[in-house]
Every structure is written in structure tokens, then in C-alpha cells.
């Protein structure tokens, strides 16, 4: 069950990244295509919802199940997978949650007629995948830290 939870956490994180990229691309053309405004609002809400789901699922897994993985990592050859990567990930993700929550607020303005409002959405939508991909990479290193820790255990 906890593996499903962890995969769902990653799935919703990736969904948030993809939705933010969609918002970015749609916002680039929102001046020439006013009809996209409604779509941008819906997809930005989806990005925020996906991020909240990823955050709650990942947070639950971290608080309830991570202690066993942490012990394996710290005894293995990649202790930095916890001491640097997990420690930074668990705190950078709070910023990502705030950015994703803010995206639909920024997208609620009249994007078709206002270049400055579009610029704001573009900046926020661009920061989410950049930070999100960095955090996904951190997650991959943490998973590898567990793997090499388990492989290093005597059989």
C-alpha cells in the first residue's frame, strides 16, 4: 500500500509539472487567442490540485513510512541521499506548493488584454516545472540511496 502511495505522490507531482507547462504555453499565446483564458484558469486549478495531492500523499508517506528507508540510507554508501537530498526536498517542496497554489490566483486576471498579467503567469508557471523537476530528481536520488543501501547489506 505504501508503494502505491509513493507512486501516486510522484504521479501527481508530474501532473502538476505538465499542467504548469501547459499553462505557460497557453499564456504565451493568450494575447492572440482570448478564448484560451478559460482553459488557462482550469488547467492552473488542476496544477494546484495535483500539487496539493502530491504534497499530502508525500507528506503522509514521509511522516509514517520514511523512517525505515532513512535508516537504510544512513547505513548505506549514499548517506547524502538523506542528509542532503531528502532534507532539501522536504523543504523546497513547501515553496513549490505555494507557487502552485498562487498560479490560479495569477491566472484569474484578464490575460488576453494585459501583457503584464500574462508576464506574471508566465513567470510563476515557469518556476513550477523548474523547481518541480529539481525536486523529482531529488526523489530519484533518495530512491537510489535506498537501493544501494539495501544492496550493500550482507545477505
Amino acid at each position: 500500500m505504501n508503494e502505491i502511495l509513493l507512486m501516486a505522490h510522484v504521479f501527481f507531482g508530474v501532473t502538476c509539472i505538465l499542467a504548469s507547462v501547459w499553462v505557460f504555453v497557453d499564456a504565451l499565446n493568450a494575447g492572440a487567442n482570448p478564448a484560451s483564458a478559460g482553459r488557462i484558469k482550469i488547467i492552473s486549478l488542476a496544477a494546484a490540485a495535483a500539487m496539493w495531492l502530491a504534497f499530502v500523499m508525500g507528506g503522509y508517506w514521509y511522516v509514517v513510512f520514511y523512517a525505515a528507508d532513512k535508516a537504510v540510507i544512513l547505513k548505506g554508501p549514499w548517506p547524502f541521499a538523506h542528509s542532503y537530498f531528502m532534507e532539501t526536498k522536504e523543504h523546497l517542496v513547501v515553496m513549490l506548493l505555494l507557487l502552485a497554489t498562487y498560479l490560479p490566483i495569477a491566472a484569474s486576471n484578464n490575460l488576453a488584454g494585459n501583457p503584464a498579467a500574462r508576464r506574471l503567469v508566465l513567470w510563476v508557471a515557469a518556476m513550477i516545472p523548474l523547481l518541480g523537476l529539481m525536486i523529482e530528481g531529488h526523489g530519484a536520488v533518495i530512491a537510489m540511496g535506498v537501493k544501494v543501501g539495501l544492496l550493500a547489506q550482507p545477505h
Binding site: 505555494l98 484569474s108 503584464a116
Partner: protein, 106 residues
């Protein structure tokens, strides 16, 4: 004419986002450097990370609504450009503080 182009909540929650990002990083450093603070945060919710996240989320919402009370109805183009710089600076500073702390100081 390009004035009054974003809502007061866009400005207030944008400011709140930038401020809370930096507070997030400072709280990381404070709890890692102060075992007493981390113990207190553990006791509050059972895990310091839950307390940490809750503090930042509540602060984000509270500041977003509070700062909106002091604003006019909407912001103009210059205010939006300043907001973009403020948010970007807040995110970059916070990221640098968190990464730098765990890379160097911790």
C-alpha cells in the same frame, strides 16, 4: 491603456508567496540550529515537518488576506513588474538558503 490590470488578491498573495518562501528557509535554519525549537515543533503536531508546513501555509493565507486589506482594488503594470521581481527574488533567495545550508552549514 494598461492600468488596474490585476486584482488586489493577485498582488497580496504574490507578496505573501515571496515573504513566506523566505520565512520557510529561515525556519529551516532556525529549527536545524535549535534542538529546542525542533523538539517544540515535534511536540505540536507529532512531527516537525508537519508543524513547519502548517506554519508556512497558514502564514501564506493570513498574509495574503491581510495585505489585501491595505491595497486598492487592483494593481497597475508597474506594480505587477515589481511583484514578478519580488516573487523571483524570494524563490531564489529561499532556494539558495535551503540548498546552501544543507550543503555547507549543516
Amino acid at each position: 491603456m494598461e492600468n488596474k490590470i490585476v486584482s488586489k488578491y493577485t498582488l497580496s498573495f504574490g507578496l505573501s508567496l515571496a515573504i513566506c518562501s523566505v520565512v520557510n528557509a529561515l525556519l529551516v535554519i532556525a529549527k536545524e540550529k535549535s534542538p529546542a525549537l525542533q523538539t517544540a515543533m515535534n511536540k505540536m503536531t507529532g512531527h516537525h515537518w508537519i508543524t513547519h508546513s502548517a506554519v508556512i501555509i497558514v502564514l501564506f493565507l493570513a498574509l495574503g488576506f491581510l495585505l489585501a486589506q491595505g491595497k486598492g482594488d487592483q494593481g497597475d503594470s508597474a506594480a505587477v513588474n515589481r511583484l514578478i521581481k519580488f516573487i523571483t527574488a524570494g524563490i531564489l533567495l529561499s532556494g539558495a538558503l535551503i540548498i546552501g545550508f544543507y550543503l555547507i552549514a549543516d
